[in-house]
Symmetry: C2
Subunit: 284 residues, 2 copies
Amino acid sequence: MSTDLVRWRLDIAYDGTAFIGWAAQPGQRSVEGDLAGWVGRILSLDEPPRLTCAGRTDAGVHARGQVVHVDLPATTETGRSEMRDTGAVLAHRLPRALPADIAVRGVTRAPDGFDARFSAIWRRYVYRLWDDPADADPLRRYQVVRHPEPLDVSLLADAGADLIGLHDFAAFCKRRDQATTIRTLQRVEAVRLGDRTIEVTVQADAFCHSMVRSLMGALTAVAAGRKDRTWLQGLLTRTERANDVTVLPAHGLTLEEVGYPADAELAARAAEARTTRSLREERA
Amino acid sequence: MSTDLVRWRLDIAYDGTAFIGWAAQPGQRSVEGDLAGWVGRILSLDEPPRLTCAGRTDAGVHARGQVVHVDLPATTETGRSEMRDTGAVLAHRLPRALPADIAVRGVTRAPDGFDARFSAIWRRYVYRLWDDPADADPLRRYQVVRHPEPLDVSLLADAGADLIGLHDFAAFCKRRDQATTIRTLQRVEAVRLGDRTIEVTVQADAFCHSMVRSLMGALTAVAAGRKDRTWLQGLLTRTERANDVTVLPAHGLTLEEVGYPADAELAARAAEARTTRSLREERA
């Protein structure tokens, strides 16, 4: 086996219901633990490889567009003592090996300078709600949250627009020592689909821990008429986690897509992100 | 409690994964059993009421648009010794009582002559497939079937059109003594969605047991290039279940909607259906 390591990009999706979250924790089932374990077993590594993901999702949060990188030998010896491209081996064997709640949609050689976490320029999450018990679809009960009050979706969208831009989102973040809570919220959109499910799209350069679910708690408080937009705007001036903001349940949240710049800009972006955001955590 | 019975229409949805099917069976968990049990408990009936549904779904088959009727007293005594409209009591209490894999979307007083089974003029099912492992979405793994071969969706649609009309679908039906297998297939449509999921819509006046899943087995055999359209058309001339037709897995199938005529025609439709289809079973 070659000792030269190559960076591979894995595009994955998972149902977060049965996981403690992305991050491996002793004695718990995690996406990272399952995925690293199977990559290690398939390639007969001495230990599971280290994985880096774009968004460290919490327990119960789903992903359709999670991106992971892992550094592995370029080629791998197969059962017939042939050397094969490691990415091809993983693309073939991972989908058959992984449990049904994780899917690998692509294994590709990462372009130079690619870092799943630091090269990313945006993360897009969607939070899904039903505000009328009659709309509930049992087939999606682990992915859509039932909201007890009717929600004004256009008010929710307008309130969301108030938050767009570069702000200190401390009111919406679980505080970590020394971690900055300044983020650029790029997009907040709310629509009611034909089946009456409310989908709220939230996109930012990065999110801090519990930020999307806290934003949803604040936006639904406005959309339900419990709070007004002045209160919401005032949250952007706070410097600590706001106790009057509810964190909505994890299972309504899905990491849908992660954006990266053109290949030529990957390394520069990663270097910039490492410097300016070295104390940040990408979490949801 | 009044002894005059009123017919109520229940619109329900369920995730079929954990049920033995619609029909109650001793010692097994069924949709009928759970629903009748909760209606009986909420209304303090001596025993669960008898339910009639539009489509008796099999184990693992889902429903978003199942229709049920049940004959119950017009009013019900509540805890405060008040008499309340039975439908209002059920609409309020059933969603809170039922397990999370059954949803009641509506409880309405049925129009005169309404029969959930015999008044129906069509049933619409959708069968969902992924023909590329890279498209699999773990969040919908219990509702979409992974197909091992690539499928030509326009060929599938064209082949489906060959089956439309009044035919003996014996080749596609699990035989029941004396039951006719003549049905009118009204619609077969196949589309590939933006996320590459294949959705096949199948609508008929009624279906016999395992018919949709057998139709899907035959249509996918053509769409994968294993069989040709001449073989498919020949199935319509057979008088017995065809051993060369595979029954596709239950979990890809969802009863999406049931159609009824205008209120004034309900009774006539039910009488007609009872006469001409008295030996039929509505099954999926």
